[in-house]
């Protein structure tokens, strides 16, 4: 890292420290790591969505290389409980037991010297099962005639939630009312690196060491210890370089449990690398169905919203976030950045014969934002007002901050209307109207939303998930040569934390980021943390690193002052030095470190015996979360012959509070945006009525490529959060939230002249063309 014109501390954009390693191919991912004597695992997976498992016949002579649940006695099932009333707990065995509940569920583990040989074994195992009718549609999953996935349950639902404001009087007073039935597709998160697990038993330490591609090594450690019946000291999780998480790696894996158990049993290291077929059938996300009604007055001011929502949560509740992270949040996210007086909302987390859902970047917000923002545009069309007008009529104004909305969410700071005004001003809307008047099917769409990030104990305790985040800790140590070592329990897998946390340290201590080593991804080396998720790392770990560095600065100052024979009140720590405030005199932090470690005879009496290493904790107060927010504005052109959509222009006005590294924030927004475009236009994992996945290769499951993402114009506002160390806000997911809403609003604006409207995601060519043809049929 070289000195940049903008400095190196908080708010500067130095290049990423980790990039030299990645760009030169020196990153180390699970698939790069081998051990002597290592065996490879291939899983025999269920070819059928719902069946009673009768027998697995192992290949003759190879019985000792194939393991079913019966061979792994003593390992526990995965149970992701919730404290929400009425939650039904699923028992997920690490390998199928008695039943299979989705295509791709692991039934047996086959081990061999190579993955290919392990796959050979899996191919000749014989499954004997009794097929059961599959539950493939969340809308009928809860009907009394539906076969039960979990037979002790009364219905196929993990949870139902209700909020029952009285909206019955709104018909009489509203100037406009719209009802829409909307659907988002079932998606697969697709990090470039899939999952991978390498498990080995260390007989000296009596410790299970699992190298795994995870976002949350410490949570995995606790979950794994629990399932294996080991104490927490007997499990060490190493999460090396990880090629993208997005929520897909925020889970305790059945494969982790199986590989660890096999490594113990076989006395040899065991590795499993997920392939793309496994990835596309292992976990899903985001399948929402809404029937939503909204009422507004003549000016567009919202009077109330009623929403009936179902989320297809799949067959099991994943650990630790559970099966209802999406559906149960719909009611609390629906008001979005708006002032909403009344909300009636019913949600169901349906249980179906599909892979479990996981929280995917944006979590419930992408679907909820889509429902709310397209409904607002429908209201605007009915009222004959512009989409920006209806939003301005309802956005929480800056003067109301901090603002507590009707569901109790507290927005910390911001000027939501200003972000909208800036986004609209960046687009020549008059020109689009003129093109529309000339017959072009081009349209303009908006989405405004806020993103709660780094929400902590006060929010999650009500959920009662297995891991309620508390205080975040960071460890800081000055080495004898003055190098600063930071250890954090969060994990960086694209967020650039090795750089931004070094910037935070630089901000406090003035040590050059090149002299700051950020250690993460190893439970043996780092403080316990719930990990990297929920747009929390920069707020939580950033705050903890700042606090640890502050405490370290105090100790350094005391020693430095003594070395200069002045009072501690007459020095300050800056630029990597302890400086006298009255003269130019200084000693470097490296001088102080050398004194502590090598010439302790020179230390002053009464020196802090804790030395130059500090573990400090941090939590914002209040910890209800930061709210970054954004307005996305899109110009889209629709080809009415094919239904194809071209994004002509894309503007994002984003407020992430203090941007610790604006360049990295831009990257976060852009990356999220590409995924949001995938949600809007491409990605779809359909299942047939038998519960068979129909997009099991990347030729069928379309991901946006670089050429499918337009040049986005990014604009930042920086309204500080009053509650965080530097005023920073969580911003990791924002880019993935807005695109479906903004893009479909643009499409629907383009199609308004034809009387057509797209309701379902993705807005694929066939769906767009079908909407156009349906409108033509109505007109005819």
């Amino acid at each position: 890292m070289t000195a940049e014109p903008g400095g190196l501390g908080v708010g500067a954009s130095p290049r990423r420290k980790e990039d030299a390693r990645f760009l030169h191919g020196r990153g180390r991912f699970v698939a790069d790591i081998t051990r002597p004597g290592m065996l490879e695992v291939a899983f025999l997976r269920s070819p059928i969505a719902h069946a009673r498992l009768l027998a697995v016949t192992k290949p003759a002579g190879q019985e000792k290389r194939v393991f079913t649940i019966a061979d792994l006695d003593g390992i526990g099932t995965i149970r992701a409980n919730s404290a929400l009333p009425g939650f039904r707990v699923s028992e997920q065995p690490a390998l199928a037991k008695d039943k299979v509940r989705h295509v791709g569920e692991a039934i047996a583990a086959c081990v061999a010297e190579s993955r290919a040989a392990a796959e050979d074994l899996a191919a000749i195992c014989v499954l004997d099962y009794e097929a059961l009718p599959a539950v493939s549609d969340m809308r009928t999953a809860c009907s009394p005639t539906a076969p039960l996935l979990h037979e002790s349950w009364s219905m196929n639902a993990f949870l139902e939630t209700r909020r029952d404001d009285d909206v019955s009087g709104l018909d009489a007073i509203a100037a406009a009312k719209v009802t829409r039935t909307l659907r988002t597709s079932r998606q697969c998160m697709a990090p470039i690196e899939g999952r991978g697990v390498l498990a080995e038993w260390d007989p000296r330490l009596e410790q299970m060491i699992v190298t795994t591609s995870t976002q949350m090594p410490h949570v995995t450690k606790s979950g794994l210890a629990d399932c294996l019946g080991l104490d927490e000291g007997q499990v060490r999780i190493v999460s090396p370089d990880v090629g993208g998480g997005f929520g897909y790696k925020g889970i305790l894996l059945p494969e982790e449990i199986v590989c660890a158990s096999l490594a113990i049993r076989l006395g040899r290291p065991v590795r499993w690398l997920e392939d793309r077929f496994e990835q596309l059938t292992a976990a899903n996300c985001r399948e929402h169905h809404y029937v939503i009604t909204a009422w507004a007055d003549r000016a567009g001011k919202l009077l109330g919203v009623e929403c009936d929502a179902i989320v297809d949560a799949g067959a099991y509740s994943s650990y630790p976030f559970g099966a209802c992270l999406e559906a149960a949040q719909i009611g609390s996210i629906l008001p979005g950045p708006y002032i909403l007086p009344l909300l009636r909302c019913h949600t169901v987390s349906a249980c179906t014969n599909k892979p479990p859902i996981l929280p995917y970047r944006g979590v419930a917000r992408t679907g909820v934002c889509y429902a709310m923002e397209t409904t607002l545009d429908a209201l605007a069309r009915q009222l004959g007002i512009m989409p920006q007008a209806i939003r301005l009529a309802n956005l929480v104004p800056a003067t109301a901050m901090p603002y507590r909305n009707l569901v109790g969410k507290v927005f910390d700071s911001g000027d939501y209307p200003e972000s909208l005004r800036r986004a609209v001003a960046a687009i020549d809307v008059d020109k689009i109207r003129a093109r529309q008047a000339a017959g072009e099917t081009v349209g303009f769409g908006l989405a405004t939303f806020c993103e709660q990030g780094a929400h902590g104990t006060s929010v999650y305790h009500a959920w009662g998930i297995p891991f309620v985040p508390g205080f975040e800790q960071a460890y800081a140590r000055l080495a004898p040569d003055g190098v600063l070592e930071l250890r954090v329990g969060v994990h960086s897998h694209g967020q650039g934390l090795e750089t931004t946390l070094a910037q935070v340290a630089h901000e406090i201590l003035g040590i050059h980021p090149d002299q700051v080593r950020v250690v993460h991804g190893d439970t043996a080396l780092t403080p316990y943390s719930t990990g990297t998720w929920g747009s929390r790392a920069m707020v939580m770990a950033g705050g903890a690193v700042a606090e640890a560095c502050r405490q370290l600065a105090e100790r350094v100052a005391a020693i430095g002052a003594a070395l200069m024979q002045v009072s501690g009140a007459d020095v300050r720590v800056a630029d990597g030095k302890v400086q006298r405030t009255d003269t130019d005199g200084f000693v470097t932090i490296a001088d102080v470190a050398r004194t502590w470690y090598r010439t302790p005879q020179n230390l002053p009496p009464g020196v802090n015996k804790g030395g130059l290493e500090v573990t400090a904790g941090y939590r914002p107060d209040p910890d209800t979360g930061t709210h970054s927010y954004a307005c996305h504005a899109v110009v889209a052109r629709v080809d009415t012959e094919t239904g194809a959509v071209v994004l002509e222009d894309y503007v994002v006005v984003e407020d992430g509070g203090k941007l610790v590294n604006p360049m990295i924030v831009d990257g976060q927004v852009m990356g999220g945006l590409a995924q949001g475009i995938g949600t809007a236009l491409y990605e779809e994992m359909p299942y047939d009525t038998e519960g068979q996945p129909l997009a099991a290769t990347l030729a069928d499951y379309l991901l946006p490529g670089t050429t499918d993402v337009p040049d986005v114009r990014l604009d930042h506002m920086e309204t500080l959060s009053p509650w965080t160390t530097f005023g920073q806000k969580g911003i990791g997911e924002s880019g993935a939230i807005g695109p479906p809403a903004a893009i479909v609003n643009a499409i629907n604006d383009a199609l308004a002249g034809l009387g057509a409207e797209v309701m379902d995601l993705p807005a694929s060519p066939s769906r767009v063309l079908a909407a156009i043809q349906a409108a033509r049929a109505v007109k005819a």
Binding site: S114, A116, E119, R276, T642, G705, P765, S766, L769, Q773
Partner: protein, 265 residues
């Protein structure tokens, strides 16, 4: 997703290659389609005969109004101008939009044609250009018209003991009009429908409608399509009742667009 065990042979002569194929080996060229099929274990051949080291496997020879293109000529070579003249110009335009450059660097015209994926570009385009596939078997070379070479989904006129040696296409005059339109949802994706129209002065225009989950539909005399495009496109597409509404609509659009390109002044 690792292939089942197979043995690998690298024949040095065409006669060796033919013997291997006749004995059941699967021919491999750029393996851009075969590779994924092996990994998915949808193909589990006992042996793969790697053709890439055969003499004259790649390259273009011009003689007597005919361009003989070696089956191993890569899409990238064609994109970069390996085929001369107006024919080369047309083919380069097609090659440029096959998948992605890394695929084009390895994928070959013969491999793509012999694999006979209905959505593949050369499967659609070569019948429109006219010409001949050169099959090589134990009894020597056999000539098969390109218009009838692909006979089904992943099926061709090649006998089980034959290899595709080369394709021959005519050197087209400069005045030829060419229309080619395909629909991909994203760059690099397989086509959802492809239409081609070739109009050589003095002869009837030829059209192909392809990538519709069947072998290409070759219309040797497409005069009617050029004369009354709207009605004729609808008539042609009505022969694909198995397709969904969107696919049929886009197929008509494809024909219209290809005709429009041919008629463009």
């Amino acid at each position: 997703m690792k292939p089942a065990v197979f043995s690998y042979a690298r024949p040095k002569s065409w006669s060796d290659a033919v013997k291997l194929v006749a004995s059941g080996a699967r021919a491999g060229a750029g393996t851009q389609s075969l590779g994924p099929l092996l990994n998915l274990r949808l193909a589990q051949p006992d042996m793969i005969a790697d053709l890439r080291h055969l003499p004259d496997y790649a390259g273009v020879v011009v003689s007597g109004g005919v361009l003989r293109i070696g089956a191993g000529t890569t899409h990238a070579a064609i994109e970069d101008g390996a085929v001369p003249g107006r024919t080369g110009e047309i083919m380069a335009g097609v090659a440029r939009r096959i998948a992605y450059r890394p695929v084009r660097n390895r994928g070959t015209i013969g491999g793509s044609l012999a694999h006979a994926d209905p959505a593949a570009d050369w499967v659609a385009v070569l019948p429109a250009l006219g010409g001949t596939a050169i099959a090589l078997g134990l009894r020597g070379e056999r000539r098969v018209p390109l218009a009838g070479f692909v006979t089904g989904i992943f099926e061709t006129a090649l006998a089980s003991d034959e290899l595709l040696r080369a394709v021959e296409v005519p050197t087209l005059p400069a005045g030829v009009r060419w229309g080619h339109w395909k629909f991909c949802r994203k760059v690099g994706e397989f086509s959802k429908v492809t239409a081609c129209v070739l109009s050589v002065p003095g002869t009837a225009p030829r059209a192909v409608l392809a990538a519709l989950d069947r072998p290409p539909l070759v219309i040797e005399d497409a005069s009617a399509l050029l004369d009354d495009t709207e009605a004729e496109a609808a008539r042609i597409v009505s022969a694909f009742p198995e397709l969904g509404e969107w696919r049929r609509a886009v197929a008509q659009t494809a024909l219209r667009k290809a005709v429009a390109a041919v008629k463009q002044p």
